[in-house]
């Protein structure tokens, strides 16, 4: 479904991605784990077109999207939920969701998707008229993911959805990600620092280290791998 090949991204003089190669099949949850500054966010941003790659290839369903503008890539069905839950603080929950459906015109579909989202996150339904900025961190993350879903993406790019959340909420968020994948066959590329949780729900995983892919395997194998255990799961041998 998505093929990224030999991607190089620079921020001025900083070589942020060094020949990154990834692949996603339809309906998969794939996680991209790695330490701070490894280049995970940069990978997502270059897929969604917010950051331009200097060289390499990104192909989505057979269409090369390297040089496309973010709004074009979005309309192909790739939606990014940016890091740090960038919801619109001055808009209410429903208005935020409406923004997610910005390119859609089917009112009924939008309505039923919103209802679906409110069954995923009943907490958001309770707060539907509240301003985004006044929600708690967990609720904002729920809103950010939901807003991403409102455009019925084929590929959902999630950037550290568990960042700064209480363990109970992390559980809830991950369970919901699994459910979204199951309900709608949405392909998900999940960037996480919480490797343990991410590998538990993912089918496959990539480990990133300073701008390149260091390891790739099925999630189960990565969970067992000594290297991953030491470096990312905090387990001493």
């Amino acid at each position: 479904m998505l093929k990224v090949k030999n991607l190089h991204v620079y921020y001025g003089g900083i070589h942020a991605l060094k020949s990154v190669t990834l692949e996603l099949s339809p309906g998969e949850i794939v996680t991209l784990i790695g330490a701070n500054g490894a280049g995970k966010s940069t990978s997502l941003m270059s897929i969604s077109g917010i950051v331009q790659a200097r060289s390499g290839e990104i192909v989505f369903e057979g269409v090369p999207i390297n040089a496309m503008a973010p709004d074009r890539i979005f309309s192909l069905g790739i939606v990014q939920v940016p890091e740090g839950r960038r919801i619109f603080p001055g808009l209410s929950v429903t208005e935020n969701l409406d923004m997610g459906a910005y390119l859609r015109t089917d009112r009924h579909g939008i309505k039923s998707d919103m209802d679906y989202i409110f069954t995923l996150f009943p907490r958001l339904a309770e707060r539907r008229h509240q301003l985004g900025g006044t929600l708690s961190g967990g609720e904002q993350q729920m809103l950010a993911i939901s807003r991403g879903l409102m455009s019925r993406p084929k590929l959902l790019l999630l950037d550290e959805p568990s960042l700064g959340l209480a363990p109970v909420l992390v559980q809830l968020i991950f369970a919901t990600i699994e459910r979204i994948n199951r309900d709608n066959h949405t392909t998900i590329l999940l960037v996480e620092q919480n490797a343990n949780m991410a590998l538990r729900i993912a089918h496959r995983g990539y480990v990133m280290e300073s701008g390149s892919i260091a390891l790739q395997d099925t999630a189960a194998n990565l969970l067992r791998s000594e290297k991953v255990k030491q470096a990312y799961l905090g387990i001493q041998p």
């Binding site: 917010i50 619109f88 209410s92 923004m99 910005y102 807003r147």
Partner: protein, 423 residues
């Protein structure tokens, strides 16, 4: 709130101490200019000690008043949490048809017969105020909705005015033909300005737009062959009705009605725009650019649309301005104009249509009627801006969106977590 009421007496005591300190500080600060007076002729120094007393007493009184209002403001904010009376009244007026419909009809009737009730001079001032309403509404698209701080808005106003003036001067183009074209030309200039500033935000955007405004003015001032320089263009024709010849008074009345129609038109369009797709995209852009892109919104197009649509109104008003005064020169298009229009938007309430209308009337009519104190006009103007920004930072009538409040309600009807009061 009652339980939080602090004991009154110690409070007043500390306020008196603070105000006394303020007064002493002011007495010290103004000592050299207010007390010492040197007369160079007979080489003596006058010590005007009474002035010191006046300054002290005045500063004490004002400081006390200030503190009193600040305290009330804090309490008012607390009261607002359980629905302040202002909000409730506002909601009633805007939702209860029995109050709002007759009010609207009365206002409409007053507006319709205004030129027959008042003198030509008053009507002319009213036309000016209405022009600023339009300018404010136009700038409100750029600043209030899209959140792009544009300090060079006057440039588009100048473009509209000069377009009509030059076309009229060289080709005898009439007002009604020029009006839509002036809007279109201004929109093109809006896009021209938009392109280079697409990547800028906040202060940087403000500086570049400020520069743009000055560039246009300087070109008009210096390119004599094109714009006739500082001497300007005279003898611009007024709007006509099918060749009928009107007296000056009739022209004023005619222009008044044109302005009323234009303002109503502007209000409808801006109101529609706000709730349209592009309006929502502007609001999203204002809130967060990255998130906005992640929603599939074309950032560049959205920004350019805001600049172009905002500029269009300035172009219209420019054309009307040229037709009203029949003479224009670059000194009508200084930065001060941009500042006034921006003040109207900020003072009235960013993003609020009624706010801009009220803001324009206050800022344009007040100085007109304060002409008696012409020397202090700018002082009064500045002071009232400061006061309004301190006590109503959201503007006189804040945008509807800012009125969402968080209300705790019994769990039974938790579905209605917030509530919006209409402005």
């Amino acid at each position: 709130m009652d339980s939080e009421k602090r004991p009154m007496l110690p409070l007043i005591g500390s306020e008196i101490v603070k105000s006394t300190l303020t007064a002493l500080w002011f007495m010290f600060l103004t000592f050299p200019i207010m007390v010492i007076k040197i007369s160079p002729l007979d080489k003596t120094i006058h010590w005007r000690w009474m002035n010191l007393v006046y300054v002290g007493a005045g500063a004490f009184f004002l400081s006390f008043l200030w503190r009193y209002f600040m305290e009330r403001k804090v309490q008012g904010a607390r009261a607002d949490e359980d629905g302040g009376w202002q909000k409730r009244a506002g909601q009633r007026i805007s939702t209860d048809r029995r109050i709002y419909l007759p009010g609207l009809i009365a206002l409409g009737a007053f507006v319709a017969i205004f030129p027959f009730l008042f003198s030509s001079y008053q009507t002319s001032i009213m036309i000016t105020a209405l022009m600023y309403v339009m300018l404010g509404l136009g700038l409100n698209i750029v600043v209030g909705l899209a959140g792009l701080l544009n300090l060079g808005y006057v440039a588009f106003y100048a473009v509209g005015a000069y377009f009509f003036a030059l076309m009229n001067h060289h080709f005898g183009l009439g007002f009604w033909f020029a009006l839509p074209m002036a809007g279109a030309i201004a929109a093109i200039f809006g896009i021209l300005l938009g392109f280079p500033v697409l990547r800028l935000r906040g202060d940087y955007l403000a500086i570049v737009t400020l520069g743009f405004g000055e560039i246009i003015r300087l070109i008009l001032e210096n390119w004599n062959d094109f714009s006739f320089g500082p001497s300007g263009i005279a003898g611009i024709s007024r709007p006509g009705i099918m060749g009928a010849s009107l007296t000056l008074h009739q022209h004023t009345i005619y222009l008044y009605y044109i302005m009323i129609v234009m303002v109503v038109f502007t209000m409808i369009v801006v109101g529609r725009l706000r709730n349209s797709r592009i309006g929502r995209a502007w609001i999203a852009l204002r809130e967060d650019e990255v998130a906005c892109q992640a929603m599939g919104i074309d950032k560049a197009k959205t920004k350019l649309m805001a600049f172009a649509l905002g500029a269009t109104w300035a172009g219209f008003v420019g054309c009307i301005f040229a037709a009203k005064t029949t003479f224009i020169n670059p000194s009508s298009f200084t930065f001060m104009e941009s500042a006034i229009i921006l003040s109207i938007v900020v003072l009235g309430g960013m993003g609020s249509i009624m706010g801009v209308v009220v803001g324009a009337f206050i800022l344009i009519l007040l100085p007109e009627y304060l002409r008696a104190f012409s020397e202090y006009r700018m002082l009064v103007f500045g002071a009232s801006m400061v006061l309004i920004m301190v006590f109503r930072p959201q503007g006189i009538i804040g945008g509807i969106r800012q009125h969402y409040t968080f209300q705790r309600k019994p769990a039974a009807d938790a579905g209605e977590g917030g509530d919006a009061a209409c402005a």
